[in-house]
């Protein structure tokens, strides 16, 4: 062939130039494949053509159905050749082409012949190919051979049959399950690989039979498993058995723990690691059990192999979430990993250290992280920022250095997601740590001076508008905000105008100066900015003198917008331009029922700027406003608490009803949110009949029925009860929905004239003690406790009887009282015998309450509790004891 001469010591560029596949074309290769049909086969040439076909397939090239069929038929001709190398290529090629079901028949006889061949290697390969291309019917025909192959004395044949079994189990489980005796036999094979594959298959066959798996594990943990891979499988199955069998509390020993522990001394690192990980993942693992595993993982931290370092630090990172103290010993080794070349390892090390570090090590750690941050990618930086946020929440006193760190990294280069993570963290810290507010706000102000992301600038401006006016010197933020009006794009400018107006409305002394600034905005080039400035100037009090802004105006301008945007959009679309102005009050405020998935998503904890504290407070505001707009409830006073909606119907029933309990000082209002889910029905005169025979201290005061309830358009029914003032009165109410049904023609949407009276039983509803307490956290419990003083302290001890666990007892008491757990004390470390939980909140009548609960295990399961309550009123302290005593 006319190939250009290549020097012997040719350099790399030349080599790359003359790739054997240069200029390769599918059409040409398919032409070449005709050599497969030659009467005198050239094995070498055929192998080359197959290689080219493989190259094409591996480059993502696809063959049309006809091309594939043609190649497949041609390849089957090659079974005539006795050349071993070519035969091996043929096996591979058939697997790669995966012939369609109607073509398989062409090759099955050749493969069946090979499967019974005296040459072991033909047998092994033929099994693999057949199992790849076969369907159920053919499998039944060859099953006999496969069963024989599983116990073949040649490990390659046995292995081929076993791995085929693993794959076939997915498609033909009933056939493969019949092979379990043969598979069981090959688990005892002397060939390490056969044992590995047999163990994998046997476990898959028996995985739903707990007893069989347990027996398998028992027998193998006593014997010798040859392959490290099989040993790893065994460890996994063992931990599964341990998990299912639960703790053997009688003797305190865990079954099979000794086996796992002995694997920590295995010669293969893979096995050691698998055992260590299995131990760390045991349910309720004790520190005595954990220590040997931590020790080997610690050794791996300084291994020369990056994979081992990664595996170890990843596992320790997980352990640190539940048992931070157990990992503390590894901190020194982990600190040296901060400079690891592999940034995944370094990031894991940092985040683990942030979890295990104590208050005194925070500053040192922050210094190390500062150097590290400059040379990792944004996605790793986000992980670190999130870890720092949780650290700051854990050690609020260290906010200064952590906040400084966040502000420093905020100034450096970074993409949007990274900057957003930092800003979110600062916002969360400002919300949770009152002392951090002023410094945090100033950091955010500095950031918007040079922020390239419009979204972040506007969100920060909005946040400044809420928090800035509440600080000791709001005027210092004005400069930063007003600068935006000069330097930024229209969106940010409009945001800045609103923020300025908020300061003006909230801080009367600033109002004249704010007005000067707002007037300057009247000449802005953007109409939205001008419109906002005009609106604020006209509504906030005309001449801008030092006067208090009217509450109604504040609510109108800055109050939460309680009209769903969807409804507003529909309203505006339906509005026809006329003399009459658009009336916003005509827009309905009811939210259309959300699908379940959305409900779940919206229930997520609000974080950072993306979700300003619009969650609970604004819902409460909305309820307060909605209730006060009903004249009968106007004199009930301030709303103390609204519960989360309690479902009174099963999911997917004809009528979906949930109830929100609104607690007032002397009244309780039940708000029944009803949805009609039947398109063919219109409900009218809908009421809820409430039976309070099991709540005799309550007397019904008023009921507001619903005039009509069309399909998929929620409506509300209110029923109010009177109750003794300021007392946590309890009771149970049963409910029946009563209505008149009118049939609706789904095509025309018209309802029939006649209706039928009907009723629908709802679940019962209870007023419980927790309805009279509000969850309000304190940032420093000890300070709050000391400053409350012991004047109205009440202490008593209670026996809670036998409990499932200490954690379960703690949880029950927290739920009973409905108070906010503080400083993460709701989490009970596994296996602890005592625990202290701190709670805070507000009792009905707006009385602050602090609670200190000390739990101890008395005997094996009995839980004893000491309850100490401090509050601003002794009757409330007594009431809390009353709740516990009767609960």
């Amino acid at each position: 062939m006319a190939q250009p001469l290549v020097k012997k010591d040719d350099d790399r560029d030349d080599e790359a130039e003359y790739s054997p596949f240069m200029g390769i074309e599918k059409g040409a290769v398919l032409q070449e494949a005709r050599v497969f049909n030659d009467p005198q086969l050239d094995a070498r040439r055929c192998s080359q053509v197959i290689t080219k076909l493989l190259y094409l397939l591996n480059q993502g090239e696809t063959f049309t159905k006809t091309e594939a069929t043609e190649v497949f038929f041609a390849v089957t001709k090659l079974f005539q050749s006795k050349d071993m190398g070519l035969r091996r290529m043929v096996y591979l090629m058939i697997k790669e082409i995966s012939p369609s079901a109607d073509e398989v028949i062409i090759v099955t006889s050749s493969l069946m012949k090979d499967m019974n061949s005296k040459i072991d290697m033909y047998r092994a390969n033929a099994i693999r190919v057949l199992c790849r291309i076969t369907d159920g019917t053919l499998l039944a025909q060859i099953e006999r051979y496969l069963k024989q192959a599983i116990v073949d004395k040649n490990p390659i044949v046995a292995s081929a049959a076993l791995v085929s079994g693993i794959h076939l189990l997915q498609t033909n489980p009933e056939i493969v399950k019949r092979w379990s005796n043969e598979v069981q036999e090959s688990v005892q094979s002397r060939a390490a690989f056969v044992q590995f594959h047999a163990l994998g298959l046997l476990h898959q066959i028996r995985q739903n039979d707990r007893l069989a798996v347990s027996k398998l594990v028992s027998s193998l943990t006593r014997g010798a498993v040859r392959s490290p891979l099989a040993q790893c499988l065994l460890i996994r199955y063992t931990s599964q058995v341990i998990c299912e069998s639960g703790n053997n509390t009688q003797s305190g020993d865990r079954p099979f723990y000794d086996f796992l522990e002995s694997c920590l001394r295995h010669k293969s690192e893979m096995v050691i690691f698998e055992a260590a990980r299995a131990i760390t993942e045991l349910n309720g693992v004790t520190s005595r059990e954990l220590n040997p595993a931590i020790t080997v993982l610690q050794l791996f931290l300084s291994s020369s192999k990056p994979v081992l370092r990664f595996a170890a630090v990843r596992t320790l990172n997980k352990v640190a979430m539940i048992h931070p103290t157990s990992v503390t010993n590894c901190n020194i080794d982990m600190e040296s990993l901060i400079s690891d070349q592999n940034r995944s390892i370094a990031t894991l090390a940092i985040t683990t250290l942030l979890k295990t570090g104590n208050e005194s090590s925070v500053d040192r750690l922050m210094k190390q992280i500062t150097n590290f941050m400059s040379d990792i990618a944004d996605e790793f930086k986000i992980v670190v920022v999130e870890a720092i946020r949780s650290l700051c929440q854990k050690f609020p006193l260290k906010y200064r250095s952590l906040m400084n760190f966040l502000s420093n990294i905020l100034r450096e280069e970074g993409g949007f997601e990274y900057k957003k993570a930092i800003v979110d963290s600062i916002v969360i810290l400002i919300r949770e740590i009152p002392d951090a507010k002023e410094t945090g706000l100033l950091h955010l102000c500095e950031f918007i001076e040079d922020c390239e992301f419009t979204y972040l600038s506007t969100q920060i401006l909005h946040f400044l508008g809420i928090e800035g006016p509440k600080t000791s010197d709001p005027s210092k933020y004005i400069r930063f905000i007003y600068n935006r009006v000069h330097l930024e794009n229209a969106t940010v400018r409009a945001g800045a105008v609103s923020t300025l107006a908020k300061f003006g409305a909230a801080v009367d002394e600033l109002k004249p100066r704010i007005f000067v600034l707002l007037r300057r905005c009247l000449f802005d080039s953007d109409d939205e900015v001008r419109d906002r400035a005009t609106l604020y100037l006209n509504t906030l009090g005309g001449d801008g003198s030092v006067v208090e802004t009217d509450k109604a105006v504040k609510d109108f301008l800055f109050g939460p917008f309680d009209i769903p945007l969807v409804n507003l959009e529909t309203g505006l679309k339906n509005y026809e331009p006329s003399e009459e102005a658009f009336d916003i009050d005509s827009v309905p405020k009811e939210v259309k029922s959300q699908p379940l998935a959305e409900k779940k998503a919206s229930g997520k904890k609000p974080t950072g700027l993306g979700a300003p504290p619009s969650g609970p407070p604004s819902t409460a505001d909305a309820y307060q406003r909605a209730l006060s707009s009903i004249p009968e409830f106007a004199n009930f006073g301030n709303l103390f608490k609204s519960s989360a909606p309690v479902e009174l119907t099963e999911a997917e029933t004809e009528y979906a009803v949930n109830v929100v309990k609104h607690i007032f000082d002397r009244h309780v209002v039940f708000q029944y949110n009803c949805t009609n889910t039947i398109p063919e029905q219109l409900l009218e005169h809908v009421i809820v009949i409430v039976d309070n025979s099991e709540a005799d201290e309550f007397s019904e005061a008023f009921s507001k029925p619903l005039k009509s309830l069309p399909y998929d358009s929620p409506g509300q029914i209110f029923v109010a009860f009177e109750k003794p003032e300021g007392v946590p009165t309890l009771g149970k109410f049963s409910n029946v929905l009563k209505f008149i049904v009118r049939e609706v023609d789904p095509t025309t949407g018209e309802a029939e004239d006649d209706g039928v009276e009907d009723e629908y039983q709802l679940e019962d509803l209870e007023i419980v003690s927790a309805d009279y307490t509000l969850k309000v956290g304190v940032s420093n419990f000890r300070n709050a406790w000391e400053s409350m003083g012991p004047d109205f302290e009440r202490v008593d001890e209670y026996g809670l009887g036998p409990r499932e666990s200490l954690a379960e007892a703690v949880n029950t008491v927290i739920n009973l009282l409905g108070l906010q757990p503080c400083e993460g004390t709701e989490v009970v470390p596994p296996n602890s015998r005592s625990h202290t939980c701190l709670l805070s909140g507000v009792f009905i009548g707006n009385i602050k309450v602090l609670v200190r609960l000390s739990f101890g295990l008395d005997g094996p399961k009995d839980v004893a509790m000491k309850l100490t309550v401090r509050s601003e009123d002794e009757t409330v302290s007594d009431a809390i004891h009353e709740i516990v005593a009767s609960g």
Partner: protein, 147 residues
């Protein structure tokens, strides 16, 4: 499950890719993700030095061998340690076939054999063989010596 085995040259062009249980529409995403991962991290890395990464429950172990970079992706039982076993087997087999850490040209010259080796090592997402001597014989249809 071993989700993917991928070979690329120094410029990031794919030489061999094998996916198991990865939907066709996700393959392009994986391909570009892995090539970018290599471009970001493999510069200056010694032959066969393993790098490791994880994304949610999926692990990636990758390395460089001569002019070729090799990526193995796995999940569940195929965590970083199992994958390091897989990639070690692959690199040993490739070195064995090529005689040394390969140039791209040499790799392509031995393309057919390398495909056969891969066929022996990974079978539809499961690790099948780990011993290079045995693999060397199996691709020629010779029975293993220890038998």
């Amino acid at each position: 499950m071993i989700l993917a085995v991928l070979f690329a040259n120094a410029e990031g062009n794919i030489l061999i890719e094998r996916f198991h249980g990865v939907p066709a529409e996700e393959r392009l995403h994986w391909r570009s993700f892995l090539v970018k991962l290599g471009a970001d991290n493999l510069r200056g890395v010694k032959n066969e030095e393993l790098l490791v990464a994880c994304h949610k429950s999926v692990y990636i172990v990758y390395t460089v061998l001569g002019d070729v970079s090799i990526y193995v992706v796995g999940k569940d039982a195929y965590d970083e340690l199992a994958l390091s076993e897989v990639i070690f087997t692959i690199t040993s087999a490739v070195k064995d076939v090529c005689g040394k850490p390969p140039t791209e040209r040499r790799f392509l010259d031995k393309y057919g054999r390398i495909c056969l080796c891969l066929d022996e090592i990974v079978w539809k997402g499961y690790l099948e063989n780990t011993e290079k001597d045995r693999i060397k014989r199996l691709i020629r249809l010779k029975p293993p010596t220890e038998f």
